[in-house]
């Protein structure tokens, strides 16, 4: 009888811990990490841009709206480099400039510099919406904001820069 009691207690304890683990997965800390992750960026193409450019709606997170806007700009450039931009609004899908899925880790030092505050990535943002995002493009969250901006990025110039820096391969490399 004692053995059965002990066994039931053991099972109950392990179930409680498993539940705690599942809750931990969605803790505030984890959520924050998720928002700050360099893989987490939402982009939507707004149509076919002028020669060599892409027009996007992109989201960013930040404690203040200004921080979220800066992150959104960074996300727009990061999406063009690592993730690609899904098609929509009459525009075909845009592939990521870097074909290697682990490129961000392979060239970690380069990208740390590239995406540093006031870094080179700013050079490839031609235009963004002026003023503070409002309405559906500005969501108040528990600790900060999630905002969307409309931006035009210089896709071809960005690709050429990465090719010149030896990060991306030219189409005619090797020939």
């Amino acid at each position: 009888m004692k053995a059965i009691r002990f066994l039931s207690l053991l099972i109950l304890t392990s179930l409680v811990f498993a539940g705690a683990n599942a809750q931990e997965r969605y803790s505030r800390k984890e959520r924050k990490q998720h928002y700050n992750s360099s893989y987490n960026y939402e982009v939507e193409i707004q149509g076919v841009g002028q020669d060599g450019t892409k027009v996007l709606k992109v989201w960013g997170y930040g404690k203040r709206v200004e921080d979220a806007i800066i992150e959104a700009k960074m996300n727009a450039v990061a999406a063009a480099i690592f993730k690609g931009i899904p098609g929509g609004n009459g525009a075909a899908a845009t592939p990521a400039i870097l074909r290697d899925p682990n490129a961000s880790e392979t060239h970690a030092d380069y990208f740390e510099q590239f995406f540093s505050p006031g870094g080179k990535f700013n050079q490839f943002i031609a235009l963004t919406t002026d003023g503070m995002p409002s309405g559906q493009d500005r969501l108040k969250m528990k600790k900060g904001y999630k905002v969307a901006i409309y931006t035009q990025i210089m896709y071809d110039a960005l690709r050429k820069q990465l090719e010149a820096d030896g990060i991306a391969k030219r189409l005619d490399s090797g020939f």
């Binding site: 009459g90 074909r99 391969k169 189409l171 090797g174 020939f175």
Partner: protein
């Protein structure tokens, strides 16, 4: 030891700097469907059946939309390091070349230039990669939109190596020119990304080509004849296994008179007799097989080139 190391390092650096693989030529060609549906076609009676062929010259002369699309694509490809061969210019050059050839004679003896029927047949516009293009301006009430279809075809393996197709956003105000420009801008990044994938694959696994081995009728031997207790087909099979990248090739068909080898992955570069790093094309690759058969089994043969990616080796004599 130091000297050996230095020499190896120098050789490696010179290979990296000077070694350049053969660059494929690319040409935009309107698809048969586009030409025929727009009326740019030629009709022939062939054994009682009507044959319809695209008339590229008429298409290039009469279709401003097509010219616009080709120019836009040409700009993008040139910017990416692949200036396109122009179909219209190529056809004009071929006409001029034919006219000049027919008029040219030697100044001392008055002899004209040698040209076999095969040489004449070979005088056609060709490229290693064909960008097969079709598009249509469609209407939905007051709105116009473009459907666009671009396929990158390897001229030798007949494989589609890249593609982009889709429909543009409808517009009431934009003209057809603007919509066409949008369609090209929208699809070319995806197309070039696939093309880059093809080139990367080519550098990793070798260039994919086609080789045909045939025999002259008067040779007196066949591919089933035995040399040193081995059938010739077996000897050729072994040679391909030894000389292709990772032994990649497949014999898709074979009889006593021919062997068709497909998906043959030839190396992009090799070191020649004088120790120089040189690009490999199908001709030089098959030429090595010709030399091997001559030196080892005393078999004469002729290499017939069909382009950067296809060659025939005809056994028996030159």
């Amino acid at each position: 030891m130091k000297r050996v190391l230095l020499i190896s390092l120098f050789a490696f650096i010179s290979i990296s700097i000077f070694g350049q693989a053969k660059k494929p030529t690319i040409m935009v060609v309107p698809s048969d469907q586009y030409c025929i549906s727009k009326g740019y076609k030629m009709e022939f009676e062939n054994m009682g059946a009507t044959q319809t062929l695209p008339d590229y010259k008429a298409a290039m002369q009469k279709d401003p939309d097509l010219r616009l699309v080709i120019t836009k694509m040409g700009n993008i490809m040139a910017e990416r390091g692949f200036p396109l061969k122009d179909l219209e210019m190529e056809m004009k050059n071929l006409e001029k070349e034919a006219a000049e050839m027919s008029m040219m004679t030697s100044s001392s003896s008055g002899s004209d230039m040698a040209e076999s029927p095969i040489d004449m047949l070979k005088r056609t516009a060709k490229a290693d990669i064909i960008m097969d293009l079709s598009f249509e301006i469609k209407r939905n009430g007051p709105e116009k939109y473009i459907t666009f279809n671009l396929r990158g075809l390897d001229a030798y393996t007949s494989k589609q190596i890249a593609g982009a197709a889709g429909q543009g956003a409808p517009s009431m105000s934009a003209g057809a020119d603007l919509l066409l420009e949008e369609a090209v801008l929208s699809h070319m990044d995806g197309f070039n990304n696939l093309l880059q994938g093809h080139f990367e694959d080519m550098f990793a696994k070798g260039r994919e080509v086609k080789v045909m081995v045939r025999v002259w009728n008067n040779w007196g031997e066949t591919l089933e004849t035995e040399f040193d207790d081995k059938e010739l087909t077996e000897i050729i099979d072994d040679w391909f296994f030894d000389n292709t990248v990772e032994g990649r090739f497949s014999v898709s068909d074979a009889t006593e008179n021919f062997m068709r080898l497909e998906q043959v992955r030839i190396p992009m570069m090799r070191v020649d007799d004088r120790g120089r790093e040189r690009a490999v094309d199908t001709r030089s690759f098959v030429n090595d097989l010709r030399k091997y058969l001559k030196s080892t089994y005393e078999i004469d043969s002729k290499v017939y080139l069909r382009g950067l990616g296809e060659a025939w080796l005809i056994l028996g004599e030159k």
